[in-house]
Symmetry: C2
Subunit: 354 residues, 2 copies
């Protein structure tokens, strides 16, 4: 089962020389080989499962046709699948494959992993964070075309693809204001992340659009413990929502920092005997389907565009690889923001007591 089929095997099976096999399979022009012979070679190659030697070819062309995908915490988030899929499908459309490494946030492992990729002469590297944050680009990547994925860099020249958190926060809050809500609570984490800053700005913009003054009393921040876990977020969302719903003048709607916090808000609403969406509207962020469709009623949210981010990062990387020295157009920002579309389900309705 394990011996690799070689060109000699194909030649023997087709009854031709290895030179003929090579000319047929490499589609060398101008060689007089009869069509019948060509077909016999192709048939033999197919029957034997022969694959031409891409490694030797990569060596000749000085391009490996592979892209490295380095991520920190692929396992802890179901977003990973869609980020990787978006990158993988965009790469496949260009005949490239992804070499995947995962570092679990371990610096030494990250250095070794990146060295491994560079030894394999990847054409470029996608360096992905599993939630939107600022990262320092590893030194070993400074001489290799690299695009940050779901991460920003302190160096504004480093290309990156991230979600437009402000627009997302705006879209989520607008879904509530357009249903008539004016007293809108914000359920949020305490951790100072780009996502938190951006979504909060979007929330304030949407309120300003309908002439509502920002009221810090309506912002309930709770520390998620442990940080960035499902249980930590659900619990923090529960505590924050309980505070808002227990206030004398409670909000008629909640914008939750993410879907897990919204799941916690559902529990707080149930304890306060508030029915969603009749007594209380709730909107989340992320579009984690497993959360949104496991709770009842299904949670309206805005979607983090992970698939699109993966695909765009590959496109940006290919542009770097194929035209490394072309300066970026003056209107091109190294950081590209992708929109977060609204996903309306069943948790938003007009307020019962406007």
């Amino acid at each position: 089962m394990a011996r690799r089929i070689g060109i000699k095997d194909v030649a023997a099976a087709a009854g031709v020389s290895t030179a003929t096999v090579s000319q047929v399979l490499n589609r060398v022009e101008g060689k007089r080989i009869r069509e019948e012979t060509r077909q016999r070679v192709w048939r033999a190659a197919e029957e034997l499962g022969y694959a031409p030697n891409g490694m030797a070819r990569g060596l000749r062309t000085r391009r490996s046709q592979t892209i490295g995908f380095v991520s920190d915490e692929i396992a802890t988030t179901p977003h990973a699948g869609r980020l990787i899929l978006g990158a993988q499908e965009a790469a496949a459309a260009e005949g490239l494959v992804l070499l995947l490494v995962n570092t679990g946030g371990d610096d030494a492992l990250e250095r070794r992993s990146i060295d491994m990729l560079l030894q394999r002469q990847v054409d470029g590297v996608l360096y992905a964070a599993m939630y939107h944050r600022t990262v320092e680009l590893p030194g070993a990547l400074r001489t290799t075309p690299t695009v940050l994925l779901d991460a920003g860099s302190p160096d504004p020249a480093v290309p990156s693809v991230v979600p437009d958190e402000v627009q997302g926060g705006l879209a989520a809050t607008r879904e509530l204001t357009r249903h008539g809500h004016r007293r809108i609570g914000l359920v949020v984490q305490t951790e100072d992340l780009p996502a938190r800053q951006g979504r909060l700005r979007g929330y304030r913009q949407a309120l300003a659009e309908v002439g509502v003054a920002y009221d810090p009393e309506l912002v309930a921040a709770e520390k998620a413990v442990p940080f960035n876990t499902v249980g930590g977020d659900v619990e923090a969302g529960y505590r924050a929502a309980r505070r808002l719903l227990g206030a004398k003048r409670r909000p008629t709607a909640l914008f939750c920092f993410n879907d897990r916090m919204a799941a916690g808000a559902y529990r707080a609403a149930a304890e306060s005997r508030l029915s969603i969406p009749d007594d209380l509207s709730v909107i989340g962020f992320d579009d984690q389907e497993l959360v949104c469709e496991s709770v009842h009623p299904h949670l309206s949210t805005v979607r983090l565009p992970h698939y699109e981010m993966g695909a765009r990062a590959v496109a940006r990387l290919l542009a770097l690889v194929t035209a490394p020295d072309r300066p970026a157009a003056p209107d091109t920002d190294a950081k590209e923001l992708l929109p977060c579309p609204l996903v309306a389900r069943a948790s938003v309705a007009p307020p019962s007591c406007p």
Copy 2:
């Protein structure tokens, strides 16, 4: 940014010959090179970000030190992350990297993807299904060491790693019987999958252990539409549980085919004004954290061992690659079953009316 650093650059920076650089970096024994020179070469290589040419080395050793990971539907399930992570970390521990391709279940794309992997001379291939089922091994993989991951083959000689569905069903149902439940409903899909058959067998075994006769009236099967989606499963679970809970003699506990169906059962319980776990115990299957911790009370379940399956599949594959002609030990089954451990959370308690 894009020019690749070569051995000549290192030699120039260190002020030595390329032969010396090669001897130092390849740790060639028996060469008299002063320690100070060695250190200068290493420092220059590190500062320049030089990576030795793994592609050329692979060509010499006839091993590419890469493993292909072919999957069908990485995006539609959050299990994907842990399957891939398990495989990736086990591979990294052996100095190998994963080449990842995803086919979305498209046969033509799958053929092209596998050809791409074979051209890159992967040492072997993991062929992963994103839920446990029977697959036909693609023809192109018949001459390459291959291990099926979360999938079985009609050919019993094809190595595969799958969850032990019977043991998992047994563990889940035992968690209910050991709390004193005897009237246990089964909420299940209609699709005839290995998971369904195995978990049902485990359920019957656990009942038999406590002397309870299997009662088909307690098995509620509903077709999940659309199949294998979050929403389809939640809805099917809701309908199946509603039937069981509306019966004259309702079950005191439900074993649900998966966590999504259990989320639907939570809704049915709420509608029947049954409190979980006081009036009704519920256990799921899979351990999809996003579901289990988003519902209240948190869902007890058994865990599909995705990380372990990924890691074991790599170990099996390496055994094939390094000793391809050694026959398997007579007591080794080509299909390896990994146990599904109980994950107790808060949805199981003794029956209120035993």
